[in-house]
Amino acid sequence: MKVFKGTIAALMLSCGFGVSVQAESLSGTLKIFSDMANPAPRAVMEGMAERFGALHPDLEIELTVIDREAYKTQIRNFLTANAPDVANWYAANRMKPYVDAGLFEDVSEVWADPIFADLASTKGAMTLDGKQWGVPYTYYQWGVYYRADIYKELGLTEPANFEEMKSNCAAIIESGRKCFTLGSKNYWTTGGWFDYLNMRTNGHDYHAKLTAGEIAWTDEGVRQTFANWRELIDMGAFIDNHTAYSWQESLPFIVSGDAAAILKGNFAVAPLRDAGLDDSKLDFYQFPAINPDVELAEDAPTDTFHIPSGAQNKEAAKAFLKFVVEADNQTLINNGANLGQLPVNAKSSVDDDKFLKEGFAMLSSNSPGGVAQFFDRDAPAQMAKAAMEGFQEFMVKPDNLDKILARLDRAAKRIYK
């Protein structure tokens, strides 16, 4: 199987090469602004720029890497004032302000290229108003990462439904541990919990309507989600004082075994492995079903490249976008030694890594309800902020629920007007 995939990759490589020979006339300067500032992503970005440069010797590539958090505020300035030719960003509603303001270039024409037939799974996330506004370069699954050794010690198995999840949790609490660690100082960590509880209680379509403002926050379905959440809170499933920790600061609890699991994206695996949890101690399960009548749906946030409308060298930028999604490039940049995430091109091969393989299988075959981006990418920024703050308050003071929902409803009326 591996050999077969390798052959395909080699085939794709030659095809890709053929395409680029055609477009060899690219020249001038290609300015890329990237938020891939952590060591591994940075190396990936630099490697991509280098390989693209080698394909187009007449093209000079200027790569600027900006700290990931700072990038989120700087992008507003450089898109309007000093636009690069290619810029990193995120999919779905997160790109809407820039699309609405006309700062991102419509790249539907790039998507017409046959190579994009293999990117059907992420096309929806890149589409607004019926057009595509960028290309994805990586995505990753969310789910429950748990301490397999603790589960084994207590004789527990991966839960198949919410009842089992709760009975597992009761046993873990019995043993003097907490079920889940959480760092809600980063508000978005609570967004992950809401996404899963709501998608499992009401389904993906309901969730999409809620984040799009078509369903009120005071709706009965939302209340049911919070009621399920409250069951976990009331049984003491989460670590104490989670409001004081960022997501990184919440990891030591699972490393030390004071908490048995964490609901997180695949990016949590690397720090947990570095902290000494090998594959015999760390395992993964899909968030179990709550309401058996709704189909399972997953969060899989997609990171992207865009062409600002103020770009100077759009020809080269479009060629770069195509280069990024080529199957062999996707295989390479997403492997365990690089990003350690999932390739967006269906013809790429997923690296031989336990979590990547499980995640890939889950997203491709066991997510019939659909794929969501993440709460703060699906909902408009202001709504996401207000709601995630409300989630945190709910986790500390569940009795305030009515007040919180009324507040969110008021905010929604203003934001989705």
Binding site: R76, L79, T80, A244, K385
Partner: protein, 305 residues
């Protein structure tokens, strides 16, 4: 000036008005930049506060809409309340600085070293102060909880509990601010007239009475500056909040300046108009103090002449 020379070569306009014009020429760069970077943005912010604007697209005129929304916004009142708490408690830095200054105002071996050690927190960055206190308060591993644990108390989750969080951050802020006030008072104490103290002692004054009636009145300029910098420091308390809690838990540690940043400029903020209206409210509060300070400086100037 002899009139014969004047008749021979009439002096240039500049020569004739040199005394009046020169000071303005010297002031010109400063005034120009002050107008450009301080005064102009004030009016610009006031203008923006009447619009609904995401910073990218078209701005839409909504009149007092932003202010009306502020009136209904719970988060705004939380921020305002926290600002008042900051103002009141932060002023503790002034007497604390005075007492440390009095304590350090003596000649023993190595006093320079002690003075520098006390001044140290003001020299290190606010970001570092914030981080140090965040670790100090950590509910699981923090020094504070280890300590009160000795007495069977705790653990307290200072930064994660909405009841304590603002006080926790203020305590962190007072640490460097006390050092600042201390330096102001140390220089002030150098200027205290020894003869007056001697005279007071001859009259039998000592301890608290000597301090209150003889020393503190002479420290008035230092006290004035200490109040000014502390009040301004309290109103612009931003970096500590950003580092220690990022406004959390659920927005309970926000102050106006942080809230303004959050709605207008942070990761999820796209509301320039609303942010500007918060800035205007903050400006009006500051204006009260600024007006008072300017007035009292003006009075001092008049009295001095």
């Amino acid at each position: 000036m002899p009139s014969s020379i004047k008749a021979a070569t009439p002096p240039s306009w500049y020569k004739r008005n040199e005394i009046a014009v020169t000071p303005w020429l010297f002031l010109l760069p400063g005034v120009a930049f002050f107008l450009l970077y301080v005064i102009f943005p004030i009016f610009q912010s006031i203008n923006v506060s009447f619009y609904d604007w995401d910073g990218l697209g078209e701005a839409e005129w909504i009149g007092l809409g932003n202010y009306e929304e502020l009136y209904w916004d719970d988060a705004f009142y939380v921020s305002l309340r926290n600002n008042l708490i900051w103002l009141v408690l932060y002023l503790l830095a002034v007497p604390a600085g005075l007492f440390i200054a009095l304590f350090l105002n003596q000649t023993v071996t190595g006093i320079r070293l002690y003075k520098s050690l006390f001044f140290f927190p003001f020299v290190i960055s606010q970001v570092v102060v914030g981080l140090v206190f965040t670790w100090f308060y950590d509910p699981t591993f923090g020094l504070l909880n280890e300590f009160i644990g000795l007495f069977g108390l705790g653990p307290i989750n200072v930064l994660g509990d909405e009841r304590y969080v603002t006080y926790g951050i203020i305590a962190a802020g007072i640490w460097p601010q006390t050092a600042y006030c201390m330096i102001l008072y140390l220089t002030g104490l150098n200027a205290v007239d020894p003869e007056q103290i001697e005279a007071a002692r001859l009259d039998g004054a000592k301890g608290a009475r000597l301090l209150w009636h003889v020393i503190i009145p002479q420290l008035k300029p230092a006290t004035f500056i200490a109040f000014v910098v502390t009040i301004i420091g309290a109103l612009r308390s931003f970096d500590l909040i950003s580092i220690m809690t990022n406004g959390g838990p659920f927005g309970e540690s926000r102050v106006l300046s942080f809230y303004m940043f959050e709605v207008a400029l942070s990761e999820y903020g796209f509301r320039m108009g609303y942010g500007a209206s918060i800035a205007v409210v903050l400006f009006l509060i500051m204006l009260c103090f600024i007006a008072y300070f300017l007035y009292s400086m003006y009075q001092d100037d008049k009295g001095g002449r």
